[in-house]
């Protein structure tokens, strides 16, 4: 036993272990992919669900109007990290089955996104003046046709900047899935910083990567905003 330890200590090169290698770059790219994969799928699901919940919140039917609050309010008023732990560690206690990591992480992030998106959709739709509804209805459009042809196009203009801000915020929040064990950018940063003992350098690089991921979205938002620009 003693011999083995001695041999290991002799052959172990501490400098080589703490140095950054091309393999780290490969791992970085992999973790960027994981972060994007988790975030994009969660945002896509969250957006669709959020739009449905938001439209439901604008209904005159009381059940359709208030039922979404059962989902929206708890999700908006508790930390995402608690929601992730509740789903990944809590739900298996009830069901007796361990949830797969990625669906649990993505599903929770999607629900969280949907809750915030629903409120943004609702406020965007309700901010369209009543006169727009009446002008469209008076021409013979149904409520559905008015929604699609008149209201939605104006509401999107109001919604888009808020939605992009939410997307960027959720991209940052996606780092919390690392606490469940998802090997995303943040988890890789933690491991690499510990190994290399260069936390400033590693976290600096990871911050720059997050920035590089988020910044194009900001630009995209602006260009989209211009493209569908309407002179409200």
């Amino acid at each position: 036993m003693c011999l083995f330890l001695t041999e290991t200590a002799d052959s172990f090169n501490m400098d080589a272990y703490t140095q950054l290698t091309p393999n780290d770059l490969l791992q970085l790219l992999q973790s960027v992919w994981v972060t994007l994969y988790v975030t994009v799928i969660a945002l896509a699901i969250g957006t669709i669900l959020g739009i449905l919940l938001g439209i439901s919140r604008c209904s005159k039917n009381k059940i359709l109007k208030y039922a979404p609050l059962i989902i929206i309010e708890p999700l908006r008023n508790s930390p995402l990290i608690v929601q992730l732990f509740l789903v990944y560690f809590g739900v298996p206690v009830l069901t007796g089955q361990v949830l797969p990591l990625y669906p649990a992480a993505i599903g929770t992030l999607a629900l969280n996104t949907a809750a915030f998106m629903a409120v943004q959709v609702q406020t965007s739709i309700l901010s369209i003046p009543r006169g727009q509804w009446e002008a469209s209805l008076a021409l013979g459009h149904s409520y559905a046709s008015t929604y699609i042809n008149v209201i939605a196009q104006q509401a999107i203009r109001i919604l888009l900047p808020q939605a992009i801000t939410l997307y960027i915020s959720q991209l940052m929040c996606s780092s919390l899935v690392s606490l469940l064990g998802v090997m995303d950018l943040s988890r890789l940063a933690k491991f690499t910083a510990t190994r290399t003992m260069q936390p400033f350098l590693i976290y600096g690089i990871i911050s720059a990567v997050y920035f590089a991921l988020a910044y194009p979205f900001t630009k995209l938002a602006k260009s989209l905003e211009k493209r569908i620009s309407i002179n409200l």
Partner: protein, 252 residues
């Protein structure tokens, strides 16, 4: 059978006064018929239910009691509302062009979507109507590039795109300055001369005097007088102190 039959309609609104809710009855057991001809002007002080009557005919307000039939279809049947609204084009006091579209698209969107009119035909018709309202050069303009009067003229053209049997005009010149008002009234006069049937709520007495074929004076949700323009400004005025006072008040 008249085109529009208003039968014993009652309509009230709940309004909040201090901390209690009060019921304000705007139309009281109101009945009137409109045929598809000429220009009918609804006159009366503010709050007498003129606009509410138009909004009830168009189905934008539900009636509390009674019924309104437009070409035999009841506003109380939700499935008939779209047809009723296509028959009764409505233009509002505050201009409500769709801001995301240019002028041409504002005009063509509804006939393309609702009447399944081919795009080229819709655009051709839109250009004819824009020409009629004197705005042929503005087809690519957005709403914020237009004056209030121009917007109202486009709103009139947009309503006409649906081939309505009657136009319901709800104080469409109230928010305009005198110059723009005269622009819009000229268009209405020319439409009247072409035989377009109109039902107008207005305070433009000159328009009522010269263009209206029928004048209905309302007060507190009831009809005070229903006669032709000439009779209204002579006999009805002399015989009814309330009408006389109203006309004096607005400088007639």
């Amino acid at each position: 059978m008249s085109m529009i039959e208003v039968k014993n309609v009652t309509k009230s609104f709940k309004i909040k006064k201090e901390k209690t809710m009060e019921t304000l009855t705007v139309l009281k057991d109101f009945s009137v018929n409109f045929d598809q001809e000429g220009v009918t002007v609804l006159l009366g002080p503010s709050g007498t239910g003129k606009s509410t009557l138009l909004r009830c005919i168009n189905g934008l307000e539900t009636v509390d009691a009674g019924d309104i039939l437009v070409n035999g279809l009841s506003v109380n049947h939700k499935k008939d509302l779209s047809k009723i609204r296509m028959d009764c084009g409505m233009v509002f006091q505050s201009t409500v062009l769709f801001p995301q579209f240019d002028v041409l698209h504002n005009l063509t969107m509804s006939p393309i979507k609702l009447l399944k009119m081919p795009k080229t035909e819709a655009e051709e018709k839109a250009r004819i109507l824009l020409n009629k309202v004197g705005l042929a050069s503005k087809e690519k303009a957005m709403h914020n590039e237009l004056s209030g009067g121009e917007q109202q003229r486009i709103a009139i053209a947009r309503a006409l795109m649906m081939n309505p049997k009657a136009l319901l005009l709800d104080e469409i010149t109230s928010a305009l300055d005198p110059e723009m008002t005269s622009e819009v009234l000229k268009i209405l006069e020319s439409l009247a001369a072409e035989g377009v049937c109109m039902l107008c709520v207005t305070h433009e007495m000159q328009f009522a005097r010269h263009v209206a074929s029928r004048i209905i004076f309302m007060e507190k949700g009831s009809m005070v007088c229903d006669t032709n323009a000439e009779d209204f400004f002579t006999n009805a005025r002399q015989n009814n102190e309330r009408i006389n006072k109203f006309l004096q008040f607005i400088g007639e």
